[in-house]
């Protein structure tokens, strides 16, 4: 049986190197729209006052006649888009996932999904890696509310290239689609040659001991975890489940029949997301132990994006803990009542908070009750260490 990285996945060579290219997935959306602008005259783009941060401004610049400026109104945008779709266009509606589909869910449900109108909903700033903007802008419930909707295709691509492919693919298939992507730079680990097809999960790494099903930027973390586990003799199969609906039952089931246990990983609530979709499918077909990596029934918060991924337990070390746990469960061994990946992340979050806040307070200027320096010193260029 093959082991290690799937050569047919055509991933980058420097998969785990420090110099791996970092680009936000939203860039892939912008690039995909640009290409669609050239190839498909029916594609139009709507944006609710966030054209730069959703990267739809690239399309706006090249195809101003097919860019439709919305105000800050996601509800109307969804219904207006349905109007465009019913009149024969392929509208992409662009905003933050928290607002669209967060705010306009009913308009999407009735006017796009129930109408089976050809509307493409693009939710930027999904996940906690949004960073300092905080909980209101970190959408981690969108997969749940969109995958429950009949007629809706739900896509959560894993890096910039895949987001570009997903954008282009969404336009080529009739019907309502939801496409989620993020704000922060993340590893570009697939290549233009990496296969992509809506509805088909890609096996990026072969293994026989455990199946890791991941989506979004966490797929790269899953690969990192698999690499580390391999050193300890655990071979993990890593599946990029970019299409959450319709779920690729065939690929996932074939892997799970081989491994007998599953870890799911996503930048979303651990409940009701991609992991839950996998659980539903397994419960009906082939029940095995599953551990779900995700946000543990809480909201996000302000902080550095990478720090948040760590503090919320969404990175490789926690995936490894989940793998060890699920393998132990499959083998009938005793495990702790509360999973280690939850307690470890909680501790990590508490430690990081203490460290970050005390470091900041130590530099408080005199005007704000501190002892060191003034506000003038605070805002001055940081002196380079000699």
């Amino acid at each position: 049986m093959p082991k290690g990285i799937n050569p047919k996945a055509k991933l980058v060579k420097n998969l785990f190197a420090a110099d791996i290219e970092m680009k936000p997935t939203r860039d892939g959306y912008g690039q995909g729209l640009l290409l669609l602008g050239k190839t498909n005259p029916n594609v139009i783009v709507l944006c609710a006052d966030l054209s730069e941060s959703t990267r739809s401004h690239w399309f706006k610049k090249e195809f101003p006649d097919r860019f439709v400026q919305m105000g800050i109104f996601e509800q109307a945008m969804a219904a207006i888009a349905s109007g465009f779709a019913l009149a024969g266009k392929i509208p992409f509606i662009s905003s933050y996932a928290g607002f669209s589909p967060g705010r306009n869910w009913e308009q999407i449900r009735t006017t796009a999904a129930l109408n089976n109108a050809n509307v493409k909903v693009a939710g930027a700033h999904a996940g906690v890696s949004v960073g300092p903007d905080g909980a209101t802008h970190q959408m981690i419930e969108d997969i749940a509310i969109m995958r429950v909707m009949p007629n809706m295709v739900v896509l959560a691509p894993s890096d910039m290239h895949e987001t570009k492919k997903a954008t282009i693919a969404a336009a080529s298939v009739y019907g309502p689609h939801y496409l989620r992507f993020g704000r922060e730079k993340s590893p570009v680990f697939t290549t233009p040659a990496t296969p992509f097809q809506v509805g088909r999960a890609e096996t990026f790494r072969f293994g026989t001991h455990v199946t890791i099903v991941a989506c979004g930027i966490v797929v790269h973390e899953a690969l990192k975890a698999a690499e580390e586990l391999s050193k300890k003799g655990i071979e993990a199969e890593v599946i990029d489940c970019h299409t959450i609906k319709p779920l690729d039952v065939k690929t996932i089931l074939a892997s799970v029949k081989k491994t007998g246990c599953v870890v799911t990983a996503e930048e979303h609530q651990a409940h009701s997301g991609m992991g839950s979709a996998v659980c539903e499918m397994l419960a009906s077909n082939f029940p095995v132990p599953v551990e779900r990596i995700g946000v543990q029934n809480r909201f996000g918060e302000s902080g550095d994006p990478f720090m948040l991924m760590d503090a919320f337990g969404l990175t490789a070390p926690y995936i490894q803990m989940a793998v060890r746990r699920v393998v132990a469960r499959r083998d009938g061994k005793r495990v702790s009542e509360i999973p280690e990946y939850i307690t470890a992340a909680e501790k990590r979050a508490a430690d990081l908070k203490k460290q970050i806040i005390s470091e900041a307070l130590a530099r408080t200027p005199r005007e704000w009750g501190g002892k060191k320096g003034t506000i003038k010193d605070l805002i001055a260029e940081k002196k380079k260490k000699a």
């Binding site: 800050i72 900041a360 001055a380």
Partner: protein, 295 residues
Amino acid sequence: MPQVTRKPEHLHDKKLQKLEELAMTVRRDIIAMLTEAGSGHSAGPLGMADIFTALYFHVMVHDPKKPDWADRDVLILSNGHICPVRYVAMAHAGYGPKKEMMTLRKFGSRLQGHPERERYPGVETTSGPLGSGPSIAAGMAYTFKYLDKKPNRVFVITGDGELDAGVIWEAALFASRNRLHNLTWIIDRNNIQIDGYTEDVMPIEPLVEKFKAFNFHVMEIDGHNIREFVDAVEEGRAVWEKPSVIIARTIPGRGVDFMEFEPYWHGVPPKRGEEAETSMAKLRTLDGLIRSEHE
């Protein structure tokens, strides 16, 4: 327990000058805080510094030591992204230690990038996604007026780009239908939103006529003139049969000349070093209100 006096206090010239000076300090702290945070919104907070200073230090009945005091006036910030100005005004009012301003947008801070009630009760409501503030304010005003029959006033601040949202006008219908005279809606009319000038992105004028048509008592003021603002609040207090709206004409980025009127500065902070230092220097000379050794 503080005395509940809801009689309008006359704004003496001396107090006015104090408020104006305090507003400049608030601006200084906004710039310092954003520079330290390394992300956040500059234009809105600087533009609303005068009004927030007036609200916290003259207009509102409140007790920083008891943020949930039942007799307080309530301030709902609907456009949550301008929270730095609220955090600074609250720090100066005594809701928390001033040093807390060092922690804006950092992991573990009460000062979230968008305000959160569960972390910092004085901010009254969580906000960020635009448009919901007037509805929350209307719900509270209805409670005070009809259910609890109490004199608390409710203030709500929205942006102007925010007025694009349909829910804004749903709240306006509700407030005027229920004659919520205890509700004062303050609109930060600075003419910018993220994608550009409001009248280019999604025109909202004629705004005065719109609110008149929704049966509001409408006042239009210079949002940097604290006396005009205080007078408008008092005028609204005297109108029994309608909710009030104060359209405050403000300059986004007010006080830092290169930020003023520029949509670019909607959502970015000054960079540490020259940009932040220049911002601070520009501020220090504004209208000659603040004099310093750096002039």
